[in-house]
Symmetry: C2
Subunit: 431 residues, 2 copies
């Protein structure tokens, strides 16, 4: 990916960061890069994620999915990092295989999917490192039963990605299911370029080698200066802007195919950096759609936002047909792609004209190679930002409370958190 941080400079925007401040910050980037390199060398927890382009074996993934490679529909049962990376890849790329991500426990929604799909032509990809994630296991039990009720042998149609032990690993052993391992030292939100993110891509027939090669090329750019490394340029600029008041980061790709990437980014950024009362709040947006929804706020609301654009330079296009309406004749001279590009440039300039900071991330086109680079680059940006904030990028301790409370509420053991639920302070206003 290429990054243009010109519109984040203090000469353009407020908040903005001056060139001099960026140069000072670059000393911290150099030190952070050393820590990151050492972490990668030592395969330290979290940093190991940046080694995935070398570690992941596409042949192993393809061999594991072989029994279900004929699936017309693939249910991926997983939540958070066990779903978003895979969804980002398969939603970005075209395939004849339908992919459904069961990342919520809504009964009506699950049922409607199970009723609509021809289960004899479907397969299941269940993903949970611990093998105990309540939502994922509940959904898997439901889906498995639906396959059984439809007369389909689920043991022939299920692939498991999980840790070395736990209920899912035992299940895979007992039923001789193809099973892949969640790599050690890689938190879920950083696992897109492992089996966690790539099983669905393999079933869809995408080019796994190109994904990893694009990521490896991005890894090559990691260096001790933000002025030489696109990923660090982005991470350092986002951090510097947050320090200067831009507590919100609106991720706004200009391509429908990249819509899920903004969701994936939102988890990466929120769960990695949101701790110790620090961290920029990611907002998922989409160009051009959100010009007609969020742009008013971005341009004229509080000066607390960085807008991050992601744009692809090339793609297939489509002519806008001519019209005899004079007022609209300018459209007939253009393609939809040209309209999209003009809207992007206009929106970027409209924020700059209002002194609102924004950054442009460019990829060549939406394909496996460029997507691998984008995912890797944003992960490296996040790791750098975590170093600059000084937070523990790779943990997410604040989610444990609700997990314990849920388990306690459902009778899965004694948890003091469950008791707190009953003590809720109420101030009800009713219709």
């Amino acid at each position: 990916m290429n990054v243009d941080i010109g519109n984040a400079l203090a000469s353009v925007a407020s908040p903005g960061v001056s060139r001099e401040s960026l140069e000072r910050l670059d000393n911290h980037v150099a030190a952070a890069h050393e820590r990151i390199e050492r972490g990668m060398e030592n395969q330290a927890h979290g940093y190991e994620a940046l080694n995935l382009p070398q570690r992941t074996d596409p042949d192993e993934i393809r061999a594991a999915v072989e029994p279900i490679a004929d699936a017309e529909t693939l249910f991926t049962v997983g939540i958070g990092g066990s779903s978003l990376g895979a969804a980002t890849i398969t939603n970005a790329l075209e395939s004849d295989t339908e992919t459904i991500f069961l990342d919520n426990v809504d009964p009506e929604w699950i049922t409607s999917h199970l009723e609509r799909v021809s289960l004899e032509n479907a397969a299941i990809n269940v993903v949970s490192r611990s093998g105990t994630t309540a939502e994922t296991l509940a959904n898997f039990l439901v889906v498995r039963e639906a396959f059984e009720s439809a007369g389909v042998d689920w043991t022939e149609r299920t692939i498991v990605t999980t840790g070395e032990s736990g209920p899912l690993r035992e299940l895979a052993d007992r039923h001789d299911l193809p099973a892949l391992k969640v790599p050690d030292g890689v938190p879920g939100r950083f696992s897109a370029l492992s089996a966690v993110g790539m099983v669905a891509a393999a079933v869809c027939g995408h080019d796994l080698e190109a994904l990893l090669e694009g990521a490896a090329a991005e890894a090559e750019t990691l260096s001790g200066s933000l002025f030489e490394c696109p990923a660090y340029a982005y991470g350092a600029t986002a951090y510097a802007l947050d320090e200067r008041g831009a507590g919100v980061n609106a991720m706004m790709p200009y391509a429908e195919s990249l819509e899920t990437s903004a969701e994936w980014f939102a988890q990466l950024w929120a769960e990695s950096l949101g701790k110790d009362d620090l961290g920029q709040t990611p907002v998922r947006a989409l160009g051009v759609t959100d010009q007609h929804s969020q742009l008013q706020l971005y341009r004229a609301g509080p000066r607390d936002k960085l807008v991050t654009f992601v744009t692809a330079q090339e793609g297939t296009d489509r002519q806008i047909p001519d019209t005899d309406v004079a007022e609209l004749s300018y459209l007939g001279d253009a393609t939809l792609g040209e309209l999209l590009e003009a809207e992007f440039e206009a929106t970027e300039a409209s924020l700059a004209a209002a002194g609102r900071p924004n950054v442009r991330i460019e990829i060549e086109r939406v394909d496996e190679y460029e997507l691998g680079g984008l995912l890797y680059g944003l992960e490296a940006a996040c790791v750098l930002a975590g170093e600059l904030y000084g937070v523990n990028t790779f943990e997410q301790p604040a989610v444990e409370w609700a997990k314990n409370a849920t388990r306690g509420l459902l009778g899965g053991g004694e948890f003091e958190e469950a008791e707190a639920v009953a003590d809720k302070t109420e101030l009800r206003v009713e219709r």
Copy 2:
């Protein structure tokens, strides 16, 4: 809708609002309510939106859609307020009619929809008040041509919702298309309960009367005190929390069917209140999914957030099958609905335990009546918040710049904004 603001009180959360402060604020609510009532009586611009439950004629809408009521797929061509209200309603409710919202100009995405759908069984719902919205008109020209290429007479399969004049109105007159009017004085983001939002619902066979009755029941609750009106309780609390530092409002429904309502809310809140450097930034979230993505940040990041939950009390449910894994046996005693409910209560309590403000909005179930009440209630909350901020709730002047620049870039006239685009400040870091 019912609202519980207990977890937004200063006794629970920081930032939080004390009961005494709410009582003082209630004087302003009383004054704001008088202005709102006067605006409604005078059918003043914007306030007129709150009269829609009385003004909208469901028979007129049903009569207009009659020629296309047999459609298996309905393309709604519109963007922003011309799409999100309709999408919120049809995505919330089940129907045999497939609805596709063409609210972006991405060429690959449009083409994939047009290639997949059987156009002889499809219909077009084109929505633009001015009849000149570039994205909508470009998409309409593309869709119309695709219908022609498929040998389908688009003039038999198109319904128009637009203003009294303009290119779309002329088109409807020339081809004798069924045409409905965007109501005067109602900004797009407040038009869900007019033809703009209800044509798609009518084609899907939803109960339009119930939508309006639910909204009318919510309108009945508008009164001079936030302690007696759920909509005002929500709007006043959100405003008070923003004043106290909660500049972000994460809207988190606990139902897949309400996912689009968070997008609709994001436009309502952002475009109405985001001006004069004021306005709370809406963030779209989804329970339980985002517990595994955003909860870490909401609970342990900066104290700048209100989390708004929306939860439905009733719905169809589904038993989680039993398992012989001891560690997971607690799941087999529960339903998916019970798991969803426990996760919601646990998440709400986990935020309260960390002193993070949150509000609960309850509806009885996801049906037309309750949905009408929810949409109306949130609109009224937004109008009240606008009064308290003292902004012009019903305009969106900051989006004009980019519209002019886009038009200029495409050769649609001379616009100084287009010239500014070429002057972009660059600081590029390339791979």
